[in-house]
Amino acid sequence: MTPPRDVAVVAYARTDHQGPAEGLSEAEALLPVLHDALAQAGLAPGEADFTCSGSSDYLAGRPFSFTLTLDAVGAWPPIAESHVEMDGAWALYEAWVKILTGRADTALVYAHGKPSAGDPRDVLTRTLDPYYVAPLWPEPASLAALQARALADAGHTGEPPGPTPGPPAVTDGAAAVVLAAGDAARRMCARPAWIRGADHRVEPHALGLRDLTDSPSTRLAAERAGAFRAPVDTAELHAPFAAQEAVLRRALRLDDTVTVNPSGDAAADPLMVTGLIRLGEAAARIHRGASDRALAHATSGPCLQHNLVAVLEGDA
């Protein structure tokens, strides 16, 4: 399917996150990132036709935590705004669809995460099946280790897995991108990163129903996003745990000619922001002329449960 409109990522900014945010509120941490992205696109706060954010109340430990970040957006008088209780990659997807339908020409998309407020090892168990799995409180690293073992047993990774990895580093941070359609995009950016396709698919939620050595949802999302129509030169993959990269590489048919994760290791990025960062970094590489066709991937849930794939291209 060819998208009915040309929509591009025209700006991208992220916090330089190293560890817990230094006592800043989420709105305070977000402000400089929003201003950076908006300035790149030449937009004033509140000027984008649509605003969409991604974050999780469970990480923040308070209900409707995202509403407080709207102070940083210039949301009064009321703007057209939406939020996903997910990684910001899915906020970008919603904004992309909004622009494709012709209801907006520009969109601000942002994500923020302050996992240092709680303990993600406990918090993330609350995203699991509440009947059969959540009462056991299995932390993400253990579930990923089950997958790593399955991969090693199936011969998909070189060596048997070592000890269960510790929890990923807890980093706080935020990221923002600006999307724009057609001529607006060309005005805002010398080399827009055109979104040629994007799709997301989910595996069954019961771990035991899945083949943990494969990611059919990633493959299907990539197919629907048009990823296999032509080779990509770059792939930004969201693999929270190292062994998962092997699953993604196979599902996405990435060979040695593809530069994978030139922006760095996704495991170091803040929860709820990582996927949007993958998309933003792939776009920024196209902006810089370092890539002509890039794939960006985001994931959510245990063991790569839910996967989003987008294909971005620069003009020749």
Binding site: A21, E22, G23, L24, S25, E26, A27, E28, L31, L34, H35, P45, G46, Y58, G61, R62, L68, D71, A72, V73, G74, A75, W76, P77, K114, S116, A117, G118, D119, D122, V123, R126, P130, Y131, Y132, V133, A134, P135, L136, W137, P138, E139, S142, L143, A145, L146, Q147, A148, R149, A150, D153, P161, P163, T164, P204, A206, L207, G208, L209, L212
Partner: protein, 314 residues
């Protein structure tokens, strides 16, 4: 500049979930030491059972009983169990395909060490002594060197006194950080000072400040000192006693526009009978004892403010 504040925050939420016919039968079965699965139209047996076929989305209700023995399909050693996990000592997380099932169940395996665990090893359920109809009725799995269990056998899923809902208590502990602007504000209140912040773009004064101007979307970094006196813009009479709050009802809760502020804050009104409070009444904050914030606002005795002076802050 004060240090940014932090405070412990505990969130507890006991969700009660209804189970539906398949999950009710499965969890009631565990209470009775029976493991039920569900058979799909193409003959696969799913354990734990789901209500809809994940491939075809068919509603599936064809219950079968499987064995309490099975095979480990993958595992991960857990050297440092978290408090609410199944075992208090190091254990292996396992996916176990019970004999008679085609899919695997997540649980804990009690084992002396990682060396004693391998993919393909045979295990059996160790039942919890006290069972109530929950996945934790399986205490854990343990190694088993007996024969393979039976094939899946039809089961009507009927038990006396079935469990129909599940209460899932959760308790999560956080450290709340209000941020730069609110830390400064709260720190000021503790010194009996009211500190607002001014938007550098539209010049509105926000109190309490949240760090950004919601109209302009910029940081409110200029300090401002509104009040301490202000005007009641609107109010309500509270007739329901709040849990854990030692205030007699009825009392008045009001929006108060401090002098020089462009946003009303809210606080309790004291020092005047509840039915004498009115819009436009002039008030001032009252700190009591070593309180870190005003206990309430009381009338100043000044003439009431003109409606036009606070109309835009209503």
């Amino acid at each position: 500049m004060p240090e940014n504040l932090t405070a412990p925050l505990v969130v507890e939420f006991p969700f009660t979930r209804s189970l539906g016919p398949v999950q009710s039968a499965f969890l009631t079965g565990l209470r009775e030491r029976v493991v039920l699965g569900v058979r799909t139209r193409d003959g696969r047996v799913l354990v734990p059972p789901v209500e809809y076929d994940p491939v075809t989305a068919d509603e599936i209700r064809d219950l079968v009983e499987v064995a309490t023995t099975g095979t480990v399909t993958t595992w991960a050693w857990n050297p440092s169990p978290r408090p609410r996990q199944p075992l208090p000592r190091p254990f292996a997380w396992v996916l176990v395909r019970l004999d008679g099932a085609d899919t695997a169940l997540l649980h804990a395996l009690d084992a002396p060490g990682a060396d004693a665990v391998r993919t393909g090893m045979r295990v059996r359920i160790r039942w919890a002594a006290r069972r109530e109809g929950a996945i934790t009725d399986i205490a854990c799995f343990e190694a088993h060197d007996g024969p393979a269990g039976h094939r899946a056998a039809p089961h009507d899923g009927r038990f006396p006194d079935p469990v129909t809902s599940l209460t899932a208590p959760a308790r999560l502990e956080y450290t709340y950080t209000p941020g730069r602007a609110q830390s400064r504000y709260l720190d000021g209140l503790a010194r009996r000072e009211i500190l607002g912040e001014r938007c550098p773009s539209c010049h509105k004064v926000y109190v309490p400040p949240r760090g950004a101007c919601p109209t302009c979307g910029v940081a409110t970094t200029e300090p401002a000192a509104p009040g301490p006196r202000g005007t009641v813009t609107t109010f309500c009479v509270v007739n329901i006693k709040a849990k854990g709050l030692d205030i007699d009802v009825p009392y008045v809760y009001a929006h108060i526009a401090l002098d020089g502020a462009d946003l009303a804050l809210h606080a309790r009104i004291g020092g005047i009978p509840y039915d004498r409070v009115r819009m436009g009444m002039r008030v001032e904050p009252v700190w009591t004892g070593d309180g870190r914030h005003p206990d309430h606002y009381r009338p100043t005795g000044e003439p009431d403010a003109d409606y036009e002076s606070y109309r835009r802050l209503l």
